[in-house]
Symmetry: C2
Subunit: 234 residues, 2 copies
């Protein structure tokens, strides 16, 4: 029996389990974002509370996967691309955990907003639309992660501009809204912070995609321009 | 010659180099925050530009340290606390890099503000004060990192509340300011985002401190309550 083959096979099995767990964590995080936005739009306080409470599940998954990664490194001593794969996981789950935090923040802001009765709440449609782009980015970044698909990862990097545009457009609108009726300022700021949280989710999805490109191409694209990324994946 | 001792000594030498490099990166990031705030308060456009340009230096350091960590894992195959130490570095530099991003954002917002001539800019003193707490947190978290000092790390975790309080107090003031004179809304929002960036810097310093506690205590305190952390470090 070839020990190295055996080690490598064991490594594959363990890594596959870790990857499945990351996707499961990604699924939970995705559902946290969606629930946070639904709770905001519907004013569903029970759902807001559930999102806030469930954040600990996301956190627990991060800790568990982190430990599994350390164990697989200590036991299997991977090198080269195997090691890069594990490091990709370690970084990915940090971003997933922070997306979970943003979902929790959205639910908390939704609670603040739900206590402001009788005020017209502006721009829910736009916020919802921005969140749909962010969720789409997250889903694609996890697909890219699962299949090590650099084309899809590059798509996500491109898409990040859309979320940023949405954020700026919501902000411009809110500024006008606040100027016309200064009594809406406090409410508008809550909406603005919700939009900011969505923008952050897009940033984290972009980070995850950049780790995938690094993993596959062996070159760190985290701090290079869009054009260079396009050239790199050709 | 004992191979294991030799390996361990080599590991120590390489790890020491990595740690020194992390502290150097931390020093650069600290100076980026300070310069960003000085440029904002003094309206120094040349300094704003320098902060924006220098962000690539922070990014380059992250990539380099990341690679050094992967190399040390592949070559020295550390386990247990040695491995935890390397993983602590990998996570720490991610937070340092993002603090660098926040400093760059502050400099960009300072540029926007510097173009708004003739407007009273509110709450610079409070913003400066908040930034001083955040810088102090960063410095302490790096000290805690360098000396694996859990008491100091726990101090930083406690201090995070102060930055959050400062942020909320700046926000409350700005809401009143905007309501009294809606023409200041756009400017006030820039200030608010500067305050938000400072709050984020505090969050990242807290993250770094929590990695130190994990490293030393072997228990992940990232998602436990303040009281539990206090008990843990006793």
């Amino acid at each position: 029996m070839n020990t190295s083959d055996h080690t490598s096979k064991q490594f594959d099995v363990e890594l596959e389990a870790i990857r499945a767990y990351v996707l499961q964590m990604g699924g939970l995080v995705e559902s946290q974002i969606k629930s946070a936005i639904v709770s905001l739009v519907d004013g569903d306080v029970a759902l807001m509370n559930r999102v806030i409470e469930d954040d600990h599940r996301v956190n627990a998954m991060e800790v568990k996967i982190d430990e599994a990664c350390s164990q697989v490194i200590a036991r299997r001593q991977p090198t080269a691309s195997d090691l890069r794969l594990v490091m990709m996981v370690v970084k990915t789950i940090t971003d997933l955990e922070r997306i979970g935090d943003e979902a929790e923040k959205i639910a908390r802001m939704a609670k603040m907003l739900s206590q402001k009765h009788g005020l017209a709440i502006p721009r829910y449609n736009e916020v919802k639309h921005a969140s749909e782009i962010a969720v789409d980015m997250l889903r694609k970044s996890l697909d890219a992660f699962a299949r090590l698909d650099v084309q899809m990862a590059a798509d996500v990097v491109r898409q990040d501009d859309l979320v940023d545009d949405e954020f700026r457009s919501i902000m411009r609108y809110l500024i006008t809204f606040m100027m016309e009726d200064p009594r809406t300022i406090s409410t508008s700021l809550e909406i603005l912070f919700v939009a900011k949280a969505i923008e952050r989710i897009g940033d984290h999805a972009k980070n995850i995609s950049e780790y995938v490109i690094y993993m596959v191409k062996g070159r760190d694209v985290r701090h290079v321009t869009r054009d260079e990324i396009e050239r790199e994946i050709q």
